[in-house]
């Protein structure tokens, strides 16, 4: 058999056989667990499964109920606000910090550690810390009041209209350090000659960053974007630790809706419908982008 293969063109299947065998477990995991699980979830979202999955189809009932539920609508709205600001702020702050760090400052290592440190904490710990910081009786508000501004009010976690921003602050505190590090790595990958050339041409520094360096860092930005975006969609533990969705339902997020309905309300169908909607939202964003990114660039 092998003799034959050697005689003709090398068999494509047998090239890099070792690496192919090594990747079989991961391929199986991806296909069976991720893809299989996804299809299973979507399938059962059309049933009226309660505590246990069962095959009695109810069409789009679960989806109708979902889109009529005020809590779900609130969750979507919160995710949109949180996602929009968290994307912009973590990219901007992360990049600015990295650029500052790139100015050959002293104690760079120390600063880098300080900025990256919050990332070492889990969302639960972050959430608890910020719950205390933002608590009007112990946190920022009471400190400022004790300094003399007795009418100062800052209680985002207890105010329905701004509670989601209280969560955003904690998320940014935790996440920007990582973005900074990624950006810094990207900046370090830029050839020194580019800087020299731009200096010879007399281009101001900010212009060099904006029009030369950033376009060159495309790959880093895409990596960062994917990391931030996946963090946004699955935000759950931070909310649980900080507000548990409160006050009322003002800081609910989709992932929490899914968990609550699947396990607390013992209504799998409803939870599956909600998670399918989350998947569709992600797909709507990812698919066109992936098409442009990978489909358009095919060579040959």
């Amino acid at each position: 058999m092998t003799g034959q293969a050697h005689a003709g063109r090398p068999n494509q299947l047998l090239r890099n056989l070792h690496s192919k065998i090594a990747s079989i477990p991961m391929i199986l995991t991806a296909v069976v667990i991720f893809l299989g699980g996804t299809l299973w979830t979507v399938f059962y979202s059309f049933t009226n499964s309660k505590l246990l999955p069962r095959m009695s189809f109810v069409g789009l009932d679960q989806y109708e109920r979902l889109w009529a539920a005020p809590r779900w609508l609130m969750s979507i709205q919160n995710l949109a606000i949180y996602g929009f600001f968290s994307l912009i702020f973590s990219l901007v702050i992360g990049f600015v910090l990295a650029a500052l760090m790139d100015q050959k400052i002293r104690f760079e290592n120390t600063f880098r550690t300080i900025f990256l440190y919050p990332f070492a904490l889990s969302f639960i710990v972050t959430g608890l810390v910020w719950q205390w910081v933002l608590n009007p009786e112990f946190g920022v508000q009471s400190v400022v009041r004790s300094l003399g501004w007795s009418s100062f009010t800052f209680d985002p976690l207890y105010n329905q209209s701004i509670v989601i921003y209280g969560i955003l602050i904690a998320a940014l505190w935790q996440g920007t350090g990582l973005v900074m590090c990624l950006m810094l790595a990207g900046l370090r990958g830029i050839d020194e000659d580019i800087w020299k050339a731009s200096r010879v041409d007399g281009i101001p520094m900010w212009k060099t960053y904006l029009f030369i360096i950033i376009p060159m860092m495309r790959a880093v930005f895409i990596t960062t974007l994917v990391i931030i975006a996946s963090g946004i969609v699955r935000v759950y533990d931070l909310v649980v630790a900080q507000t548990s969705g409160g006050p009322g339902i003002a800081s609910e997020v989709p992932a929490k809706y899914v968990y609550d309905y699947m396990f607390l309300a013992q209504n799998l169908g409803q939870g599956f419908a909600a998670s399918t909607m989350m998947l569709i939202t992600v797909a709507i964003i990812i698919v066109p982008w992936a098409y442009l990114e990978f489909g358009g660039r095919k060579r040959g």
Partner: protein
């Protein structure tokens, strides 16, 4: 403590395959982890160990909301424990229907549970298609208003004797810098408070029509509108209670920072731990002092179907131990709940518990909402009321409309 539990659990897993004859280990999961609760569980363990078996404690910290998904996934995932706590009612209904739970009818008939369990509705909630699947251990009722005597003294008003007087006293409390009504941020608290208001203001019949028969017309009617009006009062009175957990809210009452709290009789344990005395330090009003009716929800133990015969036998022993008169007294005194049998003596009970026992003896009882509504409907109700209590711009009329929709689609 944790280490020892872990060691015990590990030891159990090692010993199990070879365990022979008499002493059978039975893992029992529950979510009783606060001080008083843990002491009560220890009584159950002691009684079970005395039968020659061994109680392996599987406490799950958090609350029912955290613990139930873990228990259910263990049972459905093929790693069942020996026995597990649920609130009796419909939480385990589907597990029973799926054939994952053990039928206890034999034990129940042998020990005559039908006659000793009072009120009989408790056993009804354990019964599915004529078979008994759980052993009720206690009765907890929701319908209590806990008042801080010190807070009312500070505000210079008499301690109210019913809900209306309490509402009337609210402005005086506020003037003295006291939050009139403490309500924690956890969704089940506001939903529970509403159910209590419904029984107190609209009465037993309306309550049964709405939650028992799921009558949407009654839910949209004038009786429930009155209840929403009262809930609106409660919402205004609870402004400023920035706490999450129920025991933190109870603590506001204990320290006199809040005037009162609508909470089940488990709050009593907190007063006891704080060294306060019913009547002098705090006042309890069953049924909000309006309609002296209590609900008879509570806790029960369910037994997953096991293949191991030794363990199945031990399950039977545990079931009968739980309803043993001595265990009932020891357990319920520590837990602050009422026993499930009418024939035991609770001399050591405090004033509030005695009030509860009296109402129970008179038969002024209703079923708890856990027994009447599915977990799904309960969750929808919780979403509604946590929003209603937190959002002052939501009118009672709007809330009633949404409430009616929930009832109409409830199961």
């Amino acid at each position: 403590m944790k280490l020892r539990l872990l060691a015990a659990a590990l030891a159990a897993t090692v010993v199990l395959p070879w365990s022979v004859a008499s002493a059978t280990d039975l893992e029992v999961t529950h979510w009783w982890t606060s001080g008083g609760e843990a002491a009560a569980v220890a009584e159950l363990a002691k009684a079970f160990d005395a039968t020659g078996n061994h109680w392996v404690d599987g406490a799950i910290a958090g609350s029912g909301g955290t613990a139930r998904p873990i228990m259910i996934s263990r049972i459905t995932g093929g790693d069942p424990m020996g026995a597990t706590q649920f609130n009796h009612g419909r939480q385990a209904e589907e597990l029973v229907e799926a054939g994952l739970m053990r039928d206890l009818t034999d034990v129940a008939t042998r020990e005559n549970w039908k006659d000793i369990v009072k009120p009989s509705s408790l056993l009804d909630s354990c019964t599915i298609e004529g078979k008994i699947y759980c052993a009720p251990v206690n009765i907890h009722s929701w319908q209590w208003l806990w008042l801080s005597n010190a807070a009312f003294k500070k505000a210079g008003v008499e301690v109210p004797k019913n809900w209306d007087e309490f509402v009337a006293a609210a402005p005086a409390l506020e003037k003295a810098g006291i939050i009139p009504l403490a309500v924690g941020g956890q969704p089940w608290q506001s939903a529970g408070a509403f159910d209590v208001l419904m029984v107190a203001i609209a009465g037993k019949d309306v309550f049964n029509k709405v939650f028992g028969e799921k009558d949407a017309e009654v839910a949209a009617g004038p009786d429930i509108a009155k209840v929403f009006k009262a809930a609106d009062d409660a919402r205004k009175m609870s402004k400023g209670s920035n706490v999450q957990d129920w025991n933190q809210a109870t603590n506001l009452v204990i320290t006199g920072k809040a005037g009162g709290q609508i909470m089940g009789d488990w709050a009593q344990g907190e007063f006891q731990v704080a060294g306060q005395k019913a009547g002098t330090d705090y006042t309890c009003l069953p049924g909000l002092g309006v309609n002296e009716i209590i609900s008879t929800g509570g806790d029960a133990f369910y037994f997953p179907l096991l293949k191991d015969e030794e363990k199945s036998k031990a399950q039977e022993v545990l079931a009968s131990t739980l309803l043993d008169p001595k265990t009932q007294v020891a357990f319920n005194l520590k837990k602050g709940s009422l026993p499930v049998r009418g024939d035991v003596d609770l001399n050591a009970a405090n004033d509030c518990m005695k009030k509860g026992l009296e109402i129970l003896a008179k038969g002024n009882v209703i079923q708890g909402t856990d027994q009447l509504l599915s977990a799904d409907s309960q969750k929808q109700k919780e979403d509604l009321f946590s929003e209603f209590f937190a959002n002052p711009s939501m009118t009672p009329e709007d809330a009633q409309k949404r409430f009616t929709e929930i009832i109409a689609s409830a199961d």
